[in-house]
Symmetry: C2
Subunit: 100 residues, 2 copies
């Protein structure tokens, strides 16, 4: 992985709200905004105190950095971690896990 790509990943995770959003998605891993875990989006909105347009924007950023993969399922949008990056992402997440 070159520095450009690395920087792009770091940038995608450099906003606290977006990082938290990513962590939630990673936790659920195949969480959707309704299927399985009900009211996911509302939950995020409550926790992060940011509006739906902003969340939509952040999700697009994460997807654009290829950190997550999204799929429209009817009215809902499902997000999952990009498997191809999961080992790298785990390295990053070790940052958090190490202190737990």
């Amino acid at each position: 992985m070159d520095t450009q790509r690395m920087a792009k990943i770091f940038k995608a995770l450099s906003n606290p709200n977006r990082l938290e959003l990513y962590l939630k998605i990673a936790e659920a891993h195949e969480a959707s905004f309704q299927t399985g875990c009900e009211c996911f989006v509302t939950d995020i909105i409550d926790r992060l105190n940011i509006g739906a347009p902003t969340i939509s924007h952040h999700i697009k950023e994460l997807a654009n950095a290829e950190l997550i993969i999204t799929e429209k399922k009817g009215k809902f949008l499902t997000c999952k971690v990009n498997e191809k990056l999961i080992t790298e992402v785990n390295s990053i997440l070790a940052l958090q896990n190490q202190s737990k």
Copy 2:
């Protein structure tokens, strides 16, 4: 480590030039801008094609994120990786090493 702190680290490494600067410092680990490895700053300027003021700015950002520790030695400035973060940083750097 909480998300705020994580995001701060990611942000510091989210600019390609700053990331490359950090990698150079990490490589030399105790590199100074003259001592030991001659003409370090000029080298960086040549490689990164950014001016001295910008480098000064980036170094301050890295130091502010506590990723590096700087020390003024006479006319020169020495930079070294913050040992306290080195394991975490190594996790991040694994991103690059894995593909080598």
